[in-house]
Amino acid sequence: MKLEAYRKAFEQLAAGLGDTPSRDSRRAQFERFAAVGFPSKREEDWRYTDLASLSEKQFALPADGGDALIPQALADSQQLVFVDGRFDAARSSTQQHIGNIATTETADDDGLAALNAAFASPGLDLQLAAGQVLAQPLHLLFLGSGSATGTMTHQRHRIVLGSGASASVILEFARDSADERLATHTLSIELGANASLRLYRLQRESAGATLLTRIDARLDRDSRLRALCLDAGGGFVRHDCNVTLAAPGCEAEVHGLYVPQPRAHVDNHTRIVHAAPHGRSREHFRGIVGERTRAVFSGKVVVQPGAQKTDSEQRIANLLLSKRAEVNAKPDLEIYADDVKCAHGATVGQLDETALAYLRSRGIDAATAKALLLRAFALEILDHVEFAPLRRHIEDILDFPDDPELDRLIEAIA
């Protein structure tokens, strides 16, 4: 029977829940998943990311008590550590903002959303009252233990900011063993009037990992979302990011940088819907794609009727480092209002050999010269990272030749 292992895992979960409403609503979600299954390659949105093989997988739920190596905490931030999908209070610097998000409603009838809802374990539940300001960024770390081979984890998260509230949240996915694992995460975001959220999604999963994340954000009047997505891992990854500018005067920035490792697959699907006038959206994605790696970007921008004075810009640039690299970048604009400013562009290029030769002629070895040029290409995205400890962390992940001392010098001299 198809999806058999998933049913087995679900029955195991359900047995532990007893006769509760939660179990019933989870079961309803599971049945929906069982009926619909994983999205098919035949669906336009899943053309390049084939999940068919997931149906046959025998993922189990992870056992309790998994242990993982906890990376050094970022300065000036609060850590929330999850190991194998479970909150690890002892390794976290705060116990706040963790919750079990109701599993009753899902955004639509996507099988993945149902799967996630059926199995969801507690995740981030950040709710700020009007005017509340989160003092330090929240850094969520999703790690995997060595004993969680062949397991799956599903988590639901929520961020609700009251009017004028502001927060900064970092989601970092870093399961670092080479066996097969599946993780799904859904995050729903509601920004009240004038609220402001900075959201970073960092991914450095290892080969063998399948990571499917989805963000649905709804922006109320004059609120501001600044999101940045970094993919540096070697896994099979799909990110969805859906943003609705639901009231006038909203601003959404959705930026991304993908530098997948060899044989990785990274698919970014974004959808920005301007549903109200005077909205501004910016979307800059850059990719550095090498040997036998596939990167997919699909960016949809919808300007609904009445969303006049929308100002939207989408720019995608890719650097192909190998003939055996594959990039599918697709901008997709649907505009139903007439008084709008919408720009978009996509480019694919190679490393500038002339620049490389120039740097080498000054004595800089080929590997360093190349790294300097890759960093230069990525800079437009990296410069959006305003939280300095995170910026440093990202440069480390990417193995870029950054030099803080020189940066200070440059600033001093400029």
């Binding site: 500038d352 050999e353 002339t354 620049a355 030769a357 120039y358 740097l359 080498r360 002629s361 000054r362 004595g363 800089i364 070895d365 080929a366 360093t368 010269a369 300097l372 040029l373 960093r375 230069a376 290409f377 800079l379 437009e380 030749p401 030099d403 001392e405 020189l406 010098l409 440059i410 600033e411 001299i413 400029a414």
Partner: protein
Amino acid sequence: MLNIKDLHATVDGKEILKGLSLTVNAGEVHAIMGPNGSGKSTLAHVLAGREGYSVTAGSVSFDGKDLLTLEPEARACEGVFLGFQYPVEIPGVSNLTLLKAAINARRKYRGGTEIEAGDFLAWIRDRAKIVKIDPKMLSRGVNEGFSGGEKKRNEILQMLILEPRLMILDETDSGLDIDALKVVSDGINTLRSPERATVLVTHYQRLLDYVQPDFVHVLARGRIVKSGGPELARELEEKGYGWLEAA
């Protein structure tokens, strides 16, 4: 110092250098002149080790070492500097980043330690004065938004900072007004010393009024067809290259 013997080189399968020989001793300044397309830049790039240029015959030794087997970066660390005819713009890599990386590469090559931030900045400021470049400009990307003249002055600045032993300057004087030409030649003369040698590729007598050459060569059809003293440059200025091409 530099010994080029019967050098043949091809670009895209086309032979450009066809048996070029030239000896440059420490302390000397050589000017290489010649019609467009005769292979002057090709010679400069072959010496610097640029990919895409293949040497099919001949030899080049630098202080007794076989230059042709070295990677471009190793040649630079050995003390060869090429001032590009068309300096490259590299947005996102600041001039200071390039300079610091280049200085440290040289130090590492010689088994030394990295330069201290304070020493680096002091050295940059000192050298920038000679070529009248505002150090502020160096926080920008390499040559980013620089005018033609600024790019050429920046080449000289890099040279002053890196202090090479063999300076090959490919038409560094082209497109400069008289003030900039003066700055560039001051820079070249600053480094002129009995331990260093200079090869100036140029079209014009003008530069040679400021940087007096010991030898002048004419490169045509992929070889040196005539060599002489400074008077040869004046002769070329008057008569052009026609009389030599026919020869």
